[in-house]
């Protein structure tokens, strides 16, 4: 299965980047899960947790504040002015 190429970026640095099998984030509309092959999307994140599941099954959680989620051809970018791993 194809993997997602995820990067979590805050205003002053790249918080995390790597491969993942799934990303779950909370947008203003509600929680959204992204799997490989998702259609291109640009969404506004509601402040909160972004959960990234690695191919191995481990989970990473990051908090992101006023940011965006952009998905394009299996490249997922979580862009927030303030973001940190939690």
């Amino acid at each position: 299965m194809a993997a997602l190429n995820v990067s979590v970026v805050s205003a002053d640095r790249e918080v995390w980047s790597g491969e993942a099998s799934m990303v779950v984030a909370r947008t203003v509309e509600g929680e959204i899960g992204i799997l490989p092959g998702h259609e291109p999307m640009l969404a506004i994140l509601a402040g909160g947790e972004v959960r990234v599941t690695l191919p191995g099954g481990e989970k990473i959680a990051a908090s992101a504040e006023d940011g965006f989620l952009s998905v394009q051809s299996d490249v997922v970018q979580v862009v927030a002015s303030r973001a940190a791993l939690s």
Partner: protein, 298 residues
């Protein structure tokens, strides 16, 4: 004669003390450039991601938005000037202020009123000395700007941008700052932030290959939220560039000052040696003359 020698020695000492200071400042600036450059580099992923998102919205949707459409008549333009808080940086501040003056002249010739937003004590001083008005000022944190500062500046200019022209709002936003090109070169640069000049793709992407973007909740809301962030990131980047350029300019100026002090020390040492030699020669000739006179008196 002896007094001459003393004057030269005094001058050598002054030059040496000055050199110690400038040398120290040079080293401090040199070490800070690395840090400032690293900060510029570490914000690049963010601004790249934002820029990509903005261009995605601009290419995949044809929504009319207040931030992207150009008003028919521009009455007022805002100019954000980024300078440093401290001097001793060669032409750093004067070149950016000169650039801003040229821009203002151009804008006024197009019949626009110019409103200033100043960052850095030097710009504020420049405007206050000339008794010219400005809208807002931020001083004290230009050495290592934090993201908060960028947010504050962006908020202020956006607020002015969104206000009606009749209430003193602006229709255009320009930023003037020093761009860090290399250790030796820092060039003043003018960037128009708003209305946006998103560079559109040369050809329209094929719908079958590139399915349309999905926007959540909808295009307008996304654009509403995205553009301020874009402005913030551009201003933050400009602030960091300016800080890095300031350190480079300081280093260059202080190196020149140290070299100059070296030259002064050499010159004055020569003169002092000369004066000392002249003094000795004079003393010898006085002694010889005295001895001659004694011999002649016998």
């Amino acid at each position: 004669m002896g007094s001459q020698l003393r004057v030269y020695r005094q001058k050598i000492k002054t030059a040496q003390t000055t050199k110690k200071i400038t040398k120290a400042m040079e080293l401090i600036a040199a070490s800070r450039i690395q840090k400032a450059q690293a900060r510029v580099a570490s914000t690049t992923p963010y601004s790249r991601a934002i820029t990509r998102a903005v261009s995605a919205v601009a290419t995949y949707s044809n929504v009319e938005h207040v931030l992207t459409t150009e008003p028919e008549k521009i009455e007022r333009a805002a100019v954000v000037i980024l300078t440093s808080d401290r001097g001793l940086a060669g032409a750093f501040n004067s070149q950016v202020l000169r650039e801003a003056e040229e821009l203002s002249e151009l804008l006024r010739s197009q019949g626009k009123e110019v409103v200033y937003f100043l960052v850095g004590r030097k710009a504020v001083g420049y405007f206050q000395f000339r008794r010219r008005g400005f809208e807002r000022q931020w001083v004290g944190s230009s050495e290592s700007p934090e993201f908060d500062l960028a947010q504050e500046v962006a908020e202020a200019v956006l607020e002015a941008f969104l206000r009606d022209a009749a209430d003193g709002g602006v229709d255009e936003i320009h930023v003037v700052y020093n761009r860090f090109v290399s250790m030796m070169t820092q060039t003043p640069e003018v960037v128009r932030l708003l209305p946006l000049e998103v560079v559109e793709g040369v050809e329209e992407p094929d719908a079958t290959v590139q399915p349309l973007y999905e926007f959540e909740p909808d295009v307008e809301t996304v654009l509403d939220a995205l553009l301020p962030v874009y402005i913030e990131s551009r201003i933050f980047n400009a602030l960091l560039q300016s800080a890095a350029a300031k350190h480079a300019a300081t280093q260059k100026a202080m190196k020149a000052a140290s070299d100059n002090a070296d030259k002064l020390i050499t010159d004055y040492t020569r003169l002092a040696n000369n004066a000392r030699q002249a003094e000795i020669t004079q003393q010898i000739s006085e002694i010889v003359g005295g001895a001659d006179a004694l011999v002649a008196a016998k």
